[in-house]
């Protein structure tokens, strides 16, 4: 037997204003949370639908670039003649493995690196030579010689890093565009770039490496 929740006099005044006031007083936090969740879902849907296609995903680790990521993105999109409105290049230059005193930063960079590989969304990665070789032991790098279209890159043998007969990387000092950006200028060690073994855009990766080996205009 449900007792009336409201006295009869108020019940007569059930119009939309009272309803809203009632809802607000009792349910405001829940309404806000519901609103937030719906807004988030809509935001994610919109973001997923309007997302520019990623042309290339690059991680330059320990590189200490002198220019901003946006500059590098823009330069590549121009050179590859891709429309910046529908394509984007993701070049991350802020990650560090050995260049930092803070182990937490290293760990976070590592997690980023590994999870992007796990998503098959990383195409090119550059790091210091000792790290590069360490990851080579885990089968990280694709054999450049086996990729179609890589003949251009393989021209100068001493710019290449070989392991077990496979060409796995290119030294950064052989890439003029990288030196123009100020990357990998540490005199103690050489930077090496390689293509990730499970990249889905290997031809684009090669195009990026070609771009890096071209001469800068200025």
């Amino acid at each position: 037997m449900r007792a009336a929740a409201f006295p009869v006099s108020i019940m007569k005044k059930i119009n939309w204003k009272n309803e809203l006031a009632y809802l607000w007083i009792n349910y405001k936090w829940f309404l806000l949370a519901g609103l937030m969740v719906s807004a988030a879902v809509v935001y994610f849907l919109l973001a997923a639908l309007t997302q520019k296609e990623t042309a290339i995903s690059v991680m330059l680790i320990d590189c200490h670039a002198a220019v901003s990521q946006e500059t590098m993105d823009r330069d590549y999109l121009e050179a590859a003649e891709l429309d910046p409105k529908s394509f984007q290049a993701e070049i991350l230059t802020g990650l560090m493995f050995s260049g930092t005193d803070s182990g937490t930063y290293t760990m976070t960079s590592l997690s980023r690196f590994m999870s992007d590989i796990g998503n098959e969304s990383l195409d090119v990665a550059g790091m210091r030579e000792e790290d590069f070789l360490k990851y080579a032991g885990s089968g990280t790098w694709a054999d450049l010689a086996a990729l179609p279209g890589s003949e251009n890159l393989l021209k100068a043998p001493d710019s290449l890093l070989m392991k077990d007969g496979k060409t796995i990387g290119i030294y950064a000092d052989a890439l003029p565009m990288l030196r123009h950006y100020g990357c990998y200028e540490d005199p103690d060690t050489r930077g090496v770039l390689g293509v990730i073994y499970n990249s889905r855009r290997k031809d684009e990766a090669l195009r990026y490496l070609d771009f890096l080996s071209s001469m800068p205009d200025s």
Partner: protein, 305 residues
């Protein structure tokens, strides 16, 4: 009404007021938890029986070899020992400090807000900066504490807590307590404020001393708060990672390698994700056992009002 309460619903042990329909409330939280947390953890369990190295996804099953390796090479016992010492130290210190400060702040003194803010301040800063600062505090010779010791005449240069494998663990535990006691204090404050004034007054009228008031009245009444804080500190202590990473990087030797630090090292430095997963599985089992035991023990001691 009486007839309705006598009707037993199917699904046993549910009352009318707290019917099984309440389980609907669980749905959003449970859904997120299962999809974004439990499922990845199950994948971790899966990795523990493979030789996955973190990067290359062409791995094979190796059965229980990872577990055997972990158990046999002694890293588990070392990190277990370190973690237990660290956890016990941080839990006792953090809770006693938090409770003492909360009790002090619960009295009618002036400037309560200021003191509360001061006590909570360390918690507001990021762990990276905190770790860095404390390495300066601990630095031998010119660090803050060393300077203080020299000023009062003791030998400042010999004071090197982070470089000594016997004291390094305690040194970083102190940093953890420094940062964390603010949180325990807040939760104890919340608990203390639910203690009814009249009961305390009755106790004072009956002639209790200050200490008796605390131990016989306040403590039992906030026992659920104590449980919460102790369990949380235990879990946080057993999961300790940040400071052994930021300040000592596991050293000197392997004296500050906690469980989670060892897991990290195996996974990311040695690139043996499969073995690290096996290690984590065993670490989880250990922590769960301890947590459940503590929970059951503390729940039994809770006073129901």
């Amino acid at each position: 009404m009486a007839q309705q309460t006598r009707k037993k619903r199917k699904g046993g042990n549910s009352s009318l007021i707290f019917s099984n329909k309440m389980y609907v409330f669980l749905i959003p939280a449970l859904a997120m938890f299962l999809v974004f947390w439990i499922y990845p953890v199950l994948q971790l369990f899966y990795y523990s029986i493979t030789n996955f190295n973190g990067i290359n996804y062409n791995f094979d099953f190796v059965g229980l070899k990872n577990y055997q390796k972990v158990l046999s090479n002694g890293t588990l016992t070392n990190s277990l020992k370190n973690t237990m010492i660290y956890a016990v130290f941080t839990v006792t210190l953090s809770n006693i400090l938090g409770m003492a400060v909360a009790m002090a702040l619960n009295t009618k003194i002036r400037l309560k807000g200021l003191f509360r803010t001061c006590a909570y301040f360390p918690a507001l800063f990021s762990a990276i900066v905190v770790g860095f600062i404390w390495s300066y505090v601990y630095m031998p010779g010119s660090g803050m504490i060393a300077n203080l010791l020299s000023n009062i005449g003791m030998n400042g240069a010999a004071f090197n807590p982070l470089g000594n494998f016997r004291t390094a663990l305690y040194a970083i535990a102190i940093v953890e307590v420094w940062k964390g006691f603010g949180t325990t204090m807040i939760i104890y404050l919340a608990g203390l404020q639910t203690v009814d004034e009249s009961i305390l007054e009755a106790g004072q009228i009956d002639g209790c001393t200050e200490w008796q008031l605390i131990s016989k009245i306040k403590l039992p009444l906030i026992s659920s708060t104590v449980t919460i804080n102790v369990i949380l500190s235990v879990i946080a202590g057993l999961k300790a990672f940040d400071y052994s990473f930021i300040m000592t990087n596991g050293g000197p030797g392997k004296s500050t390698k906690t469980l989670m630090f060892q897991v990290y090292e195996t996974a990311f430095t040695d690139l043996k994700m499969g073995r690290a997963s096996a290690f984590s599985v065993m670490a989880f089992a250990f922590i769960i056992v301890i947590t459940v035991l503590m929970l059951l023990y503390l729940n039994k001691r809770e006073v129901e009002l």
